[in-house]
């Protein structure tokens, strides 16, 4: 059962957005995720282990890049696979601006099984913070039918 993907071409940018991460976001994410590692909230601890400062949770950066996907797709059930490599730490300064994360999603492949391979480019200050950031999705607007019913 192949979905209609005639709108998509390989190399096409499907979405692009900038997300900001502030210290407040880190506190919220720590509570929501249960990841209370102090390198994500204490300058003192971060410095003591040789880090340049408090770092964003890698999973928060992954979640923001994932948001680009689900905003494009509408339905999170359309995400079939999603993976990243945490290649560079994201330092979050203790100010109101925080740090800006730029995310761009590009069609990498239209597969024979109807799925779309999307490459995510995720950068802070022009430097990639996630590498091998890729997802496999159903095309946007396709009925995913969730399948969570008993």
């Amino acid at each position: 059962m192949r979905e209609d993907r005639t709108d998509l071409t390989v190399g096409q940018v499907v979405a692009s957005a900038q997300y900001r991460i502030t210290r407040e976001n880190l506190v919220r994410y720590a509570g929501a995720s249960g990841d209370f590692n102090p390198i994500h909230w204490s300058d003192r601890v971060a410095k003591s282990v040789g880090l340049p400062g408090v770092l964003a949770h890698g999973m928060l950066t992954m979640a923001l890049a994932g948001r680009l996907l689900t905003d494009w797709l509408g339905d999170p059930a359309a995400v079939v696979e999603y993976g990243v490599r945490f290649s560079r730490p994201v330092v979050v300064p203790d100010d109101d601006e925080g740090v800006a994360v730029d995310v761009t999603g590009t069609v990498a492949e239209l597969r024979d099984d109807g799925l779309v391979a999307v490459e995510l480019d995720v950068r802070v200050d022009e430097q990639k913070v996630l590498t091998q950031a890729r997802a496999l999705t159903r095309p946007p607007g396709s009925h995913t039918g969730a399948g969570e019913s008993s």
Binding site: L60, R67, T70, A77, V80
Partner: protein
Amino acid sequence: MAIDPSVVGRVYPPQPYEVSREKVREFAEAIGDPNPVYTETEAARQHGHQDVVAPPTFAMIPVMRGFELLMDDLGIEFARLVHVDQRFTYARPLVVGELVETTTTLDAIRQVGGNDLLTIRNEVRNAALDTHVCTAKATLLIRPEEESDA
């Protein structure tokens, strides 16, 4: 001291996790995602879901329970851990109200530059429905115990 390779293949007992409506809302807010499928039953139903679903990387919360078990078993403190990569393969999103269980397997260990690299697999299932929800694969880098805080 490196981790004894004989632990490869160890499978940790399923860890239960109940997906609650408020936790999903809190997580969506923490990643700044206003998609109503994470908060409103009606919006989720329009996409064919039974009820509110969780964002894709929410799956990390039940997966973390498995990590904790493994780290505890191997005597690794969280301060020595670096999350290298993370990948999820989804059969469907997590749905509020469901009880899932996560089974964790230590698939591989290799030594790189004095660090241990662990390959970990987590299978998240709904036992009552007998359905597979997602598979998570991660690489964790464990720094040696002797390392000073330089």
